[in-house]
């Protein structure tokens, strides 16, 4: 096994982890921080990708807009997922705060409905976005050699998302309110903060991140029905391994799962699928709060 090979596979794991982080960070906001059980997070990912593609495809075919089509698709995907997320929170989940089982069942139902609606509207054909000209093709990296630019872009984007979220939660008033709401909702409401509005904002933000992940994911890999379950499961595992409600933990969890998937595929292809779950079981056995989760007080 050459150094080049080891580095390439590790970088592949890293870039995959970047995609996972973008999607799972949204889940971490909703589930980890707000404690809203959202089993439809994978559906938000799909909504982002499908709506983004519906906007992108005709633009890409036209001559005038082709060069901006991808960016417009990204924006459309983010907005669509955020809107659906907002509706979910305002119409359904908002008044079930704290009833985890009820939320789980409602969102599982929603995810089935959304998947069927997408099948009805867009059909079962897989599709993918074409990487914009600027990000397409390989670039030369030291030791590794040719490597796709888009995958490197994923990492840059994930880091930007991570820093943005950290700043938002730690350096802004909204962040203070959100963290206060996690600790004591009633006290926060008594202080005159409009808690439902904050909850809706955070939910929409989490959903928007899923939508962004959807378009990025559908550019890196083909998008087809059924990926919702995959990304929901991945988000759950990442957030649970990393620790609920910790952005750093989510990043660590995503890294671990991304690397495990890529190295698993290389070292024991047949059983790579179970590696993720072995990691989750081990982490839960040793650190029940997740790697960077807060100890219960």
């Amino acid at each position: 096994m050459s150094l080049q090979f080891i580095l390439t596979v590790t970088l592949n794991g890293l870039t995959l982890a970047a995609l996972y982080f973008i999607v799972a960070s949204g889940f971490s906001l909703i589930f980890g921080l707000m404690r809203t059980v959202n089993m439809a997070h994978g559906s938000l990912y799909m909504v982002g990708a499908y709506v983004g593609f519906a906007v992108y495809d005709p633009l890409y075919a036209s001559d005038v807009w082709a060069s901006h089509a991808w960016l417009i698709g990204v924006v459309a995907g983010i907005l669509a997922a955020a809107l659906v997320g907002l509706l979910m929170q305002v119409v359904l989940l908002g008044w079930m705060q704290g009833q985890e089982l009820r939320q789980a069942l409602v969102t599982i139902g929603l995810s089935i409905i959304i998947a069927d609606q997408l099948l009805f509207l867009f059909g079962g054909n897989p599709f993918r976005f074409f990487t914009p000209e600027l990000l397409f093709g390989p670039t030369e990296l030291p030791v590794i050699g040719r490597y796709p630019i888009f995958r490197l872009f994923q990492v840059v984007l994930a880091i930007a998302v991570g820093i943005g979220l950290w700043l938002l939660l730690n350096k802004t008033k909204l962040g203070i309110v959100v963290r206060a709401g996690v600790d004591d909702r009633q006290m926060l409401a008594a202080c005159g903060v409009n808690v439902p509005l904050v909850a809706a904002t955070v939910f929409a933000l989490g959903a928007a991140l899923a939508g962004l992940g959807g378009v990025i994911g559908a550019t890196a890999q083909p998008m087809a029905l059924g990926v919702d379950a995959r990304f929901l499961l991945m988000s759950l595992v990442v957030v649970i391994v990393g620790g609920m409600g910790s952005i750093g933990g989510t990043a660590l969890g995503a890294l671990l799962i991304g690397l495990a998937e890529q190295w698993g595929q290389v070292l024991f292809p047949t059983y790579s699928v179970i590696l993720t779950f072995v990691i989750m079981a081990t982490v839960l056995a040793v650190w029940p709060q997740g790697l960077l989760g807060r100890k219960p007080t």
Partner: protein, 421 residues
């Protein structure tokens, strides 16, 4: 008194027996219930849809009537996994009470239904499009018939072409890790390794979306890539391979160059043009049977269907017309545990929509023609074009069954011809 009571009992029993006989006769005049299973979910969803288009054409052509009996068609769907296919087959037999099942589409599903068919009495399963070799080769079931050729047969001629015409000596083989690709890999390597070629095998689970680490494992001295993947998996591989600037010639499996790949726009197209493959169909084929079939397909389905019928459409169609023909021959008679019907199936011989002659061997497996194909840009549309044809390919690739079985069952590790270190 005693006697009369006995008489009464006998009379009653006689009446009941007569009633059974009547309902039995009624069942013979009632509709023939044909169930079908294909994949309307999962990675082969588009292929599954197309399979049902073709079946619908076959039934419409006879107006859903055969041998004076109506055909009642009950459609089921699987997701390409054997447990789901089996559950749906059970549902068709136990709840819908079908006489015949046509399906499934994918390799491992076929083996599951073959095993299930053995437990049935008076029911017949005719394959849809599944192409694992062992479904009929090893431990065949008397109730399972397959009128399409399978994965190993489909590769006939390709290994030789790669070695002799393309001058390839060492290929990187990227294949999905389940029964059908095993059969395809076996078919390719059977010829290629015999001639002296070396193969580096790289397996990936079905539904792999990220092939970057597999691409990273290509040895530096390979001169071609053999891609035994289908649907979205093949699309993912080719796009990612194009994205790292890969430029080795691609040799495809029989379901690699399907409509998912051909109709999708994107960077993979530059790699696909000129890709050679082998299989039971080609989009561009001079045979009048094929021309006629394609014309009927396009007329019936228009823009709803594919540009050209897919491999699954052709396989389901071939199997369906075999069933219809056999039913016609026995006049719709499925009595006596379907013995006459099964005998008619076993001796059926006809021309498939591709123009290939179809006959069954003693394992109820089709012997038919295989095409060598290449992808051409046909006026802006990517299509596969036939440029070679191997006639009457048997499941044992022309070998004696004993000798062929001695080669072992296709698997991850069999056959094997790694490069010399």
């Amino acid at each position: 008194m005693l006697i009369s009571r006995r008489k009464t009992v006998a009379w009653a029993m006689g009446t009941v027996a007569a009633m059974f006989a009547v309902t039995g006769a009624l069942a013979q005049d009632g509709p023939i219930r044909i169930g079908s299973i294909t994949t309307l979910e999962g990675p082969f969803a588009t292929g599954g849809q197309d399979a049902y288009r073709a079946m619908e054409m076959a039934f419409e052509a006879i107006d859903y009537t055969v041998g004076g009996r109506q055909i009642e068609w009950i459609r089921e769907s699987s997701n390409a996994t054997p447990d789901v296919a089996l559950a749906r087959a059970r549902k068709l037999i136990e709840q819908d009470d079908v006489d015949i099942i046509i399906g499934p589409l994918s390799g491992a599903e076929g083996i599951a239904l073959r095993d299930y068919s053995r437990t049935l009495e008076g029911k017949t399963i005719v394959n849809g499009s599944s192409g694992a070799a062992d479904t009929t080769l090893r431990d065949p079931s008397p109730n399972f018939f397959r009128f399409n050729t399978e994965g190993t047969q489909w590769m006939a001629g390709l290994g030789t072409y790669a070695y002799e015409e393309m001058g390839s000596r060492h290929v990187a083989l990227v294949a999905a890790d389940y029964a059908f690709p095993y059969a395809q890999v076996f078919g390719f390597m059977h010829e290629y390794c015999e001639l002296g070629g070396a193969v580096t095998k790289l397996w990936s689970p079905l539904n792999t979306t990220d092939f970057s680490s597999i691409i990273a494992q290509f040895p530096s001295d390979v001169d071609a890539v053999v891609l035994i993947q289908g649907g979205t998996d093949a699309l993912a591989f080719l796009t990612q391979y194009a994205e790292v600037g890969g430029d080795l010639p691609i040799i495809g499996g029989s379901i690699t160059a399907d409509q998912t790949l051909l109709s999708a726009r994107g960077p993979h197209q530059s790699l696909m043009e000129g890709m050679v493959a082998a299989g039971p169909i080609a989009d561009l084929n001079e045979d009048p049977n094929w021309q006629d079939f394609v014309a009927r397909y396009r007329e019936r389905w228009g823009s709803e269907g594919f540009d050209s019928p897919s491999i699954h459409a052709v396989n389901y169609y071939t199997n369906t017309i075999a069933v219809i023909q056999a039913l016609e021959e026995v006049g719709g008679d499925l009595s006596d545990n379907q013995q006459a019907f099964q005998a008619a199936l076993a001796s059926a011989e006809f021309t498939a929509p591709t123009g290939a002659n179809v006959a069954l061997d003693h394992n109820r497996q089709a012997i038919s023609d295989i095409f060598l194909t290449r992808i051409v840009n046909d006026g802006g549309t990517m299509r596969t074009e036939a440029f070679g044809r191997t006639e009457n390919v048997s499941q044992t690739l022309g070998m004696e069954q004993e000798a062929f079985l001695a080669l072992g069952s296709p698997s991850r590790d069999n056959p094997d011809c790694p490069p010399a270190r």
